[in-house]
C-alpha cells in the first residue's frame, strides 16, 4: 500500500527542570496549563491552526499527576473535537515514541491530516527512593527480581560491568560519554544541566550503581513536549521547512530485563534489528546518518546502542567516543541535545525531546550546536534493558 508521506512539521518543548512543588504563595505549575501553552506554540511553529488538528496522542502522565483521564480532560480544556483518536499511551521509556508512532499511524490511516504527539511528565515532587518503589516494578519481575532490590539503572550498570569485562573497556572511557553530552547541552537552551564538566568531575561523584556514579546516571526532571505530525501535502502547503519520516523499525525480543535463555545481553539485539529495519526501509546505511538522538539513560547504553546500530564497531563504541567521533564535529554526532544525562530525562516524554532535537537540527535551528549540512537524523528509543527498540529515520525537507 502506498502511503502519503508523513512529517513532523513543528514542535514546542519546555526546558527540562524541577518544576513540581508549591511556591511561597501556595501556587504550583499545573500540567494541563503547561501543556496547553505548548500546543499553541507548536501549532504556531508549524504554521497551522487549531481547526487543522484531528487527533491527539498523549504520553501517560506520571501517577503523581492529580488530573486523571488526562487526554480527554485536555480535549475539553482545548475544546478540540477530533475525528482521529484521542488517547494516552504507556510503554515505559518507549512511551513517547509509541505516542509519536500512534499519531503518525492516525495520519497514515486517513483519520486526520494533522495529529499531535504530546505529553507532560511531572515527577520531581516525589523523592527518588519513593519513586523507585514504583519504577522497580516496571523494570523487572515483581516476584522474582524486585525482592532483591534491582533498580531500573542497576540493569544498565550490569551491562557496563559486562562490557568492561568482555572488551577491556574502563569506567573512564564510559564516563567520557557524560562529558561529551554535557558539552553538547551547554549550547542547548532547554537542557537541564548546562554547567561545564570535566572527566575528573564525573569520576569524583559518589557511586550510584557500580561502576556508575551520579553524573553517569540520569538526574530526575520534569518536562513537556508537543509535536505536530502532518501529512506531507499539508506540510508542503505551509511553505515551511519540515522533517519527513523516511524509515522506521521496531523489535521486541520477547524478554523482560534478562532473557531466561542465556544470550549476549550487551549485543542489544532489539536495537540491532529495529535499526536494520529502519535503514532498509529508508534505503540507506548507518554511514549516511548525519546525527543520532539515542535514548540512553546511562553512559554505557549510548555505547551499546551506537554499536548495535552500526555507528561503531563492536567493542569500540566507548573508545571512539573518547576520540570525539560521536561529538558534534565528529564522524557521527550522537545526542547533540545533551542526551538523557544532560538535556534531561523526564522519562515518559524523554523521546519526544529526541524527536524535537532532530526537528530543530534538520531545520537548521541548532544554533551553536548545529550539525553542519544535517539531512538525515535517527532517533532510537527503548524499554527495559533495550528488550524492545524503536528506530525512526527523519530527513530534512527545506
Amino acid at each position: 500500500m502506498q502511503h502519503e508521506a508523513v512529517t513532523i512539521l513543528g514542535g514546542a518543548a519546555l526546558p527540562v527542570g524541577k518544576l513540581q512543588g508549591v511556591s511561597e504563595v501556595g501556587t504550583q505549575q499545573l500540567e494541563h496549563e503547561v501543556l496547553a501553552r505548548l500546543v499553541v506554540d507548536a501549532l504556531h511553529d508549524a504554521g497551522l491552526d487549531k481547526t487543522d488538528v484531528g487527533s491527539m496522542v498523549f504520553t501517560l502522565p506520571r501517577p503523581y499527576t492529580q488530573q486523571k483521564y488526562f487526554a480527554t480532560f485536555m480535549a475539553n480544556y482545548l475544546r478540540l473535537p477530533c475525528d482521529g483518536l484521542v488517547m494516552e499511551v504507556m510503554g515505559n521509556g518507549m512511551t513517547p515514541a509509541l505516542a509519536l508512532q500512534a499519531a503518525v499511524d492516525q495520519v497514515r490511516l486517513g483519520r486526520t491530516k494533522v495529529a499531535l504527539a504530546l505529553g507532560v511528565n511531572f515527577e520531581t515532587g516525589t523523592p527518588a527512593p519513593e519513586h523507585m518503589m514504583s519504577s522497580m516494578r516496571a523494570t523487572g519481575d515483581v516476584d522474582f527480581h524486585a525482592p532483591f532490590g534491582f533498580t531500573p539503572i542497576s540493569w544498565y550498570a550490569m551491562d557496563a560491568m559486562r562490557y568492561i569485562h568482555e572488551f577491556g573497556s574502563s569506567r573512564e572511557d564510559l564516563a567520557s560519554i557524560a562529558v561529551k553530552n554535557r558539552h553538547h547541552a551547554i549550547e542547548n537552551p532547554i537542557a537541564q544541566f548546562r554547567k561545564p564538566m570535566t572527566l575528573d568531575d564525573v569520576l569524583a561523584q559518589r557511586p550510584i550503581v557500580d561502576p556508575l556514579g551520579l553524573f553517569e546516571v540520569p538526574g530526575r526532571g520534569d518536562g513537556a513536549v508537543c509535536l505536530v505530525i502532518a501529512r506531507e501535502d499539508i506540510a508542503k502547503s505551509t511553505g515551511r521547512p519540515y522533517t519527513r519520516f523516511r524509515g522506521e523499525g521496531f523489535f521486541h525480543e520477547g524478554a523482560h530485563q534478562i532473557s531466561e535463555v542465556p544470550n549476549d545481553m550487551i549485543a542489544f539485539e532489539a536495537a540491532r534489528i529495529a535499526g536494520a529495519r529502519a535503514f532498509k526501509a529508508a534505503g540507506i546505511n548507518p554511514d549516511d546518518i548525519d546525527l543520532a538522538e539515542i535514548y540512553a539513560p546511562c553512559t554505557i547504553v549510548e555505547v551499546l546502542v551506537s554499536e548495535a546500530l552500526g555507528f561503531c564497531p563492536r567493542g569500540q563504541g566507548a573508545k571512539q567516543a573518547t576520540e570525539g567521533e560521536t561529538a558534534i564535529g565528529g564522524r557521527i554526532p550522537i545526542c547533540t541535545s545533551g542526551g538523557l544525562l544532560s538535556r534531561g530525562h523526564p522519562a515518559y516524554v524523554t523521546a519526544l525531546y529526541s524527536y524535537f532535537e532532530l526537528l530543530e537540527q534538520l531545520r537548521g535551528r541548532g544554533g551553536p550546536r548545529q550539525v553542519k549540512n544535517a539531512e538525515l537524523g535517527l532517533a532510537c528509543t527503548e524499554l527495559g534493558n533495550y528488550n524492545a527498540a524503536m528506530v525512526h529515520i527523519m530527513e530534512a525537507v527545506a
Binding site: M136, V209, E260, P262
Partner: protein, 144 residues
C-alpha cells in the same frame, strides 16, 4: 545439591507473592532445594516456574530440581535504592547463568567476580526465604 541456609533476623524488604502454582518453589526453597518447571513436550526448563511452557505454550510441565550452581554473568552494587531497601545499602545484585541453561537474577553475597563459579544459597528471613549467589565452594564430603 542442598543449598546452604543463611539465617537473617529480619523480614524481607519486598516479599514476593505466591500463587498456588509457585508455592511449591518457595516451599522447596525453604528446605534448601531450588526447583523450577520443565516442559514435558519440548523438555526445556523455564525460570521462574510457569504453568505454561514459554517456548511451545503447552501446559504439560513438571517440577525439576536444579543443582543451584552456575557462573556469574554480571553484577553491580546498588548505593541508591528504593525506600524498602535503604536498610540494606549498599548491596550487590547480579545475573547468574545456571548450569542447566537458565539465566536468573539474585542478590550476590561476598567477593565474587564476573566469570566466577557461583552457587545459590537460601536467605532464611523471619517471614520466608529468598535466594542469593556466592562464590562456589567445593564440597569434600556430603553433609547429609
Amino acid at each position: 545439591m542442598t543449598l546452604d541456609l543463611i539465617d537473617l533476623e529480619q523480614e524481607r524488604a519486598y516479599p514476593p507473592r505466591q500463587s498456588d502454582f509457585t508455592k511449591p518453589f518457595w516451599d522447596n526453597l525453604t528446605r534448601g532445594i531450588f526447583t523450577t518447571t520443565r516442559c514435558d513436550s519440548c523438555n526445556r526448563p523455564s525460570f521462574p516456574p510457569k504453568p505454561i511452557c514459554p517456548h511451545c505454550w503447552t501446559d504439560q510441565v513438571s517440577w525439576i530440581e536444579l543443582e543451584g550452581a552456575g557462573t556469574l554473568y554480571s553484577k553491580t552494587t546498588v548505593h541508591a535504592g528504593p525506600a524498602a531497601f535503604v536498610r540494606d545499602l549498599p548491596y550487590s545484585v547480579g545475573i547468574i547463568d545456571l548450569d542447566e541453561g537458565l539465566r536468573i537474577a539474585a542478590r550476590i553475597i561476598g567477593d565474587v567476580n564476573i566469570g566466577d563459579r557461583v552457587e545459590l544459597v537460601v536467605l532464611s528471613y523471619i517471614d520466608g526465604p529468598l535466594y542469593a549467589a556466592k562464590r562456589y565452594t567445593v564440597r569434600l564430603t556430603s553433609s547429609a
